[in-house]
Amino acid sequence: MSNRIKVASQDSTHSNLFDLSIPELEEMSRKLRRHIITMIATAGSGHPGGSLSAVDIIAALYFKIMHHDPHNPGWEERDRFILSKGHGTPALYAVLAESDYFPVEELTTLRKLDSRLQGHTDRNLTPGVEMSAGSLGQGLSFGIGIALAAKLDDRDYQTYILLGDGECEEGQTWEAALSAAHFKLDNLTVAIDRNRQQLSGWTRNIMDIEPLNEKWQAFGWHTIEIDGHRFNQVLAAFEEAKTIKGKPTVIIAQTIKGKGVSFMENNVEFHGKAPTLEEAKRALKELE
């Protein structure tokens, strides 16, 4: 069903509006990181670490892989992106703003009273946001519902879900992993932001999830392992996922929490702490 290409949707759905090259993606990724720092510093709270580790994957999707129309967020044929690790929402907001779902100037309203940019995503408030998230472990189930609807309606869109590695400790993630394979959802791809840290430390010490690749394989998934900060690998993995039939794909992306800001990298302190204005200044300088 999913390898069928519809004549009517050929023009509209088979290209990404932005189609950035790898150097352009790299340039964009620095800009997005600057947004993340500025937003969280301005808000005075938020989650820089997991936003910085995830942002390259999200950028690759919106600026190269996905078929979507920022001026028509409800377009029925759009590819869907679900940010299951909802605390990484500054990364998503930065990408949505840069792709013109809403003005870039709005980013600094993050977490403020009456802002459309809530601390964790709200699907009814923010253009382009598919799911209200923030309670970890729920996004894959939600994505399965969307992917099943695509099969029922004979639509070609893809569903992408970004999970945290700590989030893989949630039981619901594995309920969902079982069922996505059971329903043979080859129109669904998970990316795991494998930054090896969670809220209070290294995943290995808090609740080890290894061997991760073998677990997903045992659950019936096609698995790919990549460096989640190298765009050539990220793009190749998403392209490979599209070719896999009969089962869902998981991309285990090795990443660095706090990536791009020296004093945040692998520093769990910045999981859920905003940089001071002084720290933000230093970070922005590094990201120029």
Binding site: D122, Q138, S141, F142, A150, L178, H182
Partner: protein, 312 residues
Amino acid sequence: MTVEASTREAYGRTLIELGRQNKDIVVLDADLSLSTMTHLFAQEFPERFFDCGLEEQNMIGIAAGLAASGKIVFASSFAVFASCRCFDQLRLCVSQPKLNVKIVATHGGITVGEDGTSHHAIEDLSLYCSLPSFTVIVPADAVETTKAVKAAAATYGPFYIRLSRPRTPLIYHEDHHFIVGKSITLRRGKDVTIIALGIMVAKALQAAQKLATQGIDSRVIDMHTLNPLDEEAIIKAASQTGAIVVAEEHLAHGGLGSRVAQIVAKEKPVPMAFVNLKDQYALSGKPEELLRRSGLTTEGIEGAVKQVVQKK
């Protein structure tokens, strides 16, 4: 003699009817379809039925994702699992975004019977009423079940409908006029009002008949919708009859009694009495035995009425 019918069978049959009318109806279950009767839908529309296995949390997320993609989703399990097991999922994936998901749960209350505490759903109404945007309905019989399920399909937004395991007395005829949020006055009366839902409605009617022979004229209201509550009918009952008894197969806290009392306290304070489950879990037993042990009986309602009428 009272005629009895199964509310869950009515649900299963109604799903088929809805499925024939609308291809966007999708049904989910969690390995209980033979009991919840969603297997009837599954037989006719296998491609639109998904058994999520023993994964209630996952089922709610999937339901929400389907609804976000334009489907009208019915998801079923036993009431205890469809509320307690997946509350966070209901909260964030369905209630907060106000998605078009209908949870129809069977085996509500203690009339599940022999399976015992783990299977008795006696907190579900409280939990669902605490979720903003959920419409919460407990039909009084099989006819009302059919009407409620059709109304849920036709009305955008989250619904919870609680049904029973045993067959229950038929109260309504096919021409029964059902409106979500609008209670039904089944018996006029001037001395006291009995407000009930689900299986307690039939018992309230019986109690009212007996009370009439003792000179107490009871109004009986089927408050099938807990949320949104028919405040107008409650205020009228308080003003016109001056005393209210609430009867429900649920714990005292957070169910119909609490909700009615809130309106009465605010708008028209009158003496009230409550027929419900006290602060404890029921055990194994036959449904009728458990109801008797807990005082959820015609006699229990009669006693509460006599008590409250004296306080007028």
